[in-house]
């Protein structure tokens, strides 16, 4: 499909990640009141879908992924009833979250769920996808670290998730590694095999500054749902900055239904002041995008670097070389220690 084809009149659903992926950037320390404030502002700006959970989703509270200030249930019970038009979604990664937690999230008002697996492991999700459908939830299959699988491989994985009941399939650039041609090839391969009624989404990270270009490339090939976060509050260099993306959509005639100026105000007045560090492309987050490393590893690597005296960039590059994937945050400290031993900075006991 040619890049100059007009997208005028195309309808795209925006899905905000500030209160889920953004939890990573906040080390899971967003309070209930702050969550309600952000969600209400997004709701008022017309964002139709808002994700709310621990950064690692349901079941995420752990030593591995950090403990949030409150339980997922507390967040959902506070946010869901206050939404005037927005639907609230949650994230579930099989192996971490379970169906019990999904039931509980549904009881608290969540009506959409993103069920995420690594891009080659779709068959770890059949029971969760089927259960989400049974609950009547809008059910999304989310293929993470999609740069590590071929377009054909992803198409086959997506088809499998569709067969379990997923209604929308995502190409997920967890490492912010992909370039527009990579996205185009993957979305097109998925589009070619899925039923016409099954939707396609794209979730980007801005580690190479490609979040917006990649999202547009996805839409050109048939995606109709785009994840982003206002002011880019998310792991790594953040997600596709949603207000910037909304502005680009408006210029291109893509219909999102959001109020651009209100979204800009949310970014400037609420999200940016919340940031503990400026979420941007810097030396370490650029390393993620360049080396193809899971964006959430960023802050963990910085912590391990401080502790063991090995530069975060070295740790991240080594994690990429060892092909570590989302969920293996324990391997960050392990890798830092192994590097420190090799460099004579640390001694082992065994």
């Amino acid at each position: 499909m040619s890049a100059d084809q007009s997208l005028k009149g195309r309808k795209v659903v925006l899905h905000d990640m500030c209160l889920r992926d953004g939890m990573h950037a906040k080390r899971e320390q967003i309070g209930v009141e702050q969550m309600v404030r952000v969600a209400s502002a997004l709701d008022a700006a017309g964002v139709p879908l808002i994700q709310v959970t621990h950064g690692a989703g349901l079941g995420g509270n752990s030593l591995q992924h950090g403990f949030a200030l409150h339980s997922n249930e507390d967040y959902l019970r506070a946010v869901c009833p206050r939404m005037k038009q927005a639907k609230v979604s949650v994230l579930l990664i099989p192996g971490l979250g379970t169906m019990r937690e999904l039931q509980s999230a549904h009881d608290c008002g969540a009506r959409s769920v993103t069920i995420a697996t690594h891009c080659t492991e779709a068959d770890t999700a059949p029971q969760h996808i089927a259960f989400a459908r049974k609950l009547g939830m809008d059910t999304v299959g989310f293929l993470m670290m999609a740069h590590l699988n071929t377009p054909e491989g992803l198409a086959q994985q997506g088809k499998q998730m569709e067969s379990y009941g997923a209604q929308t399939l995502y190409i997920t650039d967890s490492a912010g590694y992909m370039l527009p041609a990579d996205v185009r090839a993957r979305v097109a391969a998925l589009r070619a095999v899925l039923d016409p009624d099954t939707g396609i989404g794209f979730h980007g990270h801005h580690n190479l500054g490609m979040g917006i270009a990649n999202s547009i490339a996805a839409i050109e090939e048939g995606a109709s749902r785009i994840d982003g976060s206002v002011a880019g509050l998310g792991a790594g260099a953040g997600n596709t900055p949603l207000e910037v993306f909304a502005a680009v959509c408006e210029r291109m005639g893509i219909e999102t239904g959001v109020d651009l100026f209100r979204l800009m105000d949310v970014a400037e007045d609420i999200i940016v002041p919340m940031m503990d560090h400026m979420v941007r492309v810097d030396r370490e987050s650029l390393t993620l995008g360049f080396a193809g490393v899971y964006s959430t590893f960023l802050l963990h690597a910085k912590r391990a670097a401080g502790r063991y005296g090995v530069p975060a960039r070295d740790i991240l590059v080594e994690l990429g070389r060892r092909k570590m994937i989302g969920g293996q945050e324990d391997m960050i400290e392990d890798t830092a220690m192994t590097l420190a031993k090799e460099r004579g900075l640390l001694q082992g006991v065994a």
Binding site: T98, P126, R322, I325, D334, M337, G348
Partner: protein, 304 residues
């Protein structure tokens, strides 16, 4: 020397690997393998290795249990069919070693509680999960020194070593392992996380164990206890190895382990397969030694 005759139920990765482990045993002899798919590679392999096979499920085995003197059965099917398999075989006096997450019998981690199960002549013991076998010894090594408020384990498995049964039932894996971290490991609360990594060449199984102790950890005694436990596990899983740690940070104790397999059925990266089948074999051998010495006797279980 006489051996105790065994049946293997389930012809997937675990059942097939068990053939090799049992064939090396001085007290166990695998005689039957039970599957449900006549075309399965596991059944063909079993047949080549001299076992009798049936593709008619457990019902295909039942008529032969008495005449072939089967006394111990390993169930590597799924949590959903295990209870029925166990009921049928227990009724014939066959002791069950459950490698599914069903956990209808007591949970067994050999270096922690196998002796106690044998003293009670349990007719069904559950092996929890590969992650449980790889991590609960470490949790116990900490909790026997001082009380553990919370323990969390992360198991990273190579994609090629994880069969369809485990994949389709990850929640059961999580629940059973979390529960065992408390009941066998001795932590008050437990959580288990599983990651399936498709890297090629495949990564060797990794396990990370975090324990939060109630009081500041006694570093020297905990380290000594962990190292002693690792040696004990190494006696039946030679590839069980400490990579990093223990690391002490406030009340948190972190231990980073690796498990390389023996490379019997799947290559060495599949330590998860190995530690499960090795623990099951170890359990069966202990029962077999007692049976052969006449110190315990298996009796048919009457069921309602």
């Amino acid at each position: 020397m006489a051996k105790i005759r065994c049946a293997l139920i389930g012809s997937g990765n675990i059942g097939t690997d068990l053939i090799y482990k049992l064939k090396r045993s001085e007290v166990l002899e695998p005689v039957w393998m039970v599957g449900i798919d006549p075309a399965s590679e596991g059944l063909a392999r079993a047949s080549e290795l001299g076992l009798k096979t049936t593709a008619a499920g457990v019902d295909g085995l039942l008529p032969h249990v008495i005449e072939d003197g089967v006394q111990i059965a390993f169930d590597a099917t799924s949590a959903y069919v295990h209870a029925e398999n166990s009921r049928k075989l227990n009724a014939l006096g066959v002791m069950m070693i459950d490698l599914t997450p069903a956990a209808i019998g007591p949970l067994c981690v050999p270096p922690v509680n196998l002796r106690a199960h044998m003293d009670r002549v349990e007719m069904n013991v559950n092996m929890i999960s590969c992650a449980g076998q790889a991590t609960i010894p470490i949790v116990h090594a900490v909790s026997r020194i001082q009380s553990v408020e919370y323990a969390e384990i992360i198991a990273s498995l190579s994609s090629r070593s994880v069969g369809p049964g485990t994949r389709a039932n990850l929640d059961e894996f999580t629940y059973t392992t979390s529960d065992a971290i408390c009941r066998v490991g001795g932590a008050r609360r437990g959580k288990a996380l599983a990651i399936i990594n498709p890297a090629d060449p495949p990564m060797i199984m990794r396990n990370t164990i975090y324990c939060l102790t109630d009081e500041a950890p006694d570093e020297a005694r905990i380290t000594e206890s962990i190292l002693a436990m690792i040696r004990e596990v190494q006696s039946y899983v030679p590839g069980y190895r400490l990579v990093n740690g223990p690391v002490f940070h406030e009340r948190k104790v972190s231990v980073f382990m690796e498990v390389a397999g023996l490379g019997d059925y799947l290559p060495r990266y599949a330590g998860n397969l190995d530690i499960m089948t090795a623990a099951a074999t170890r359990t069966a051998e202990m029962f077999a030694q007692e049976l052969l010495a006449g110190r315990i006797e298996l009796k048919p279980l009457e069921t309602a």
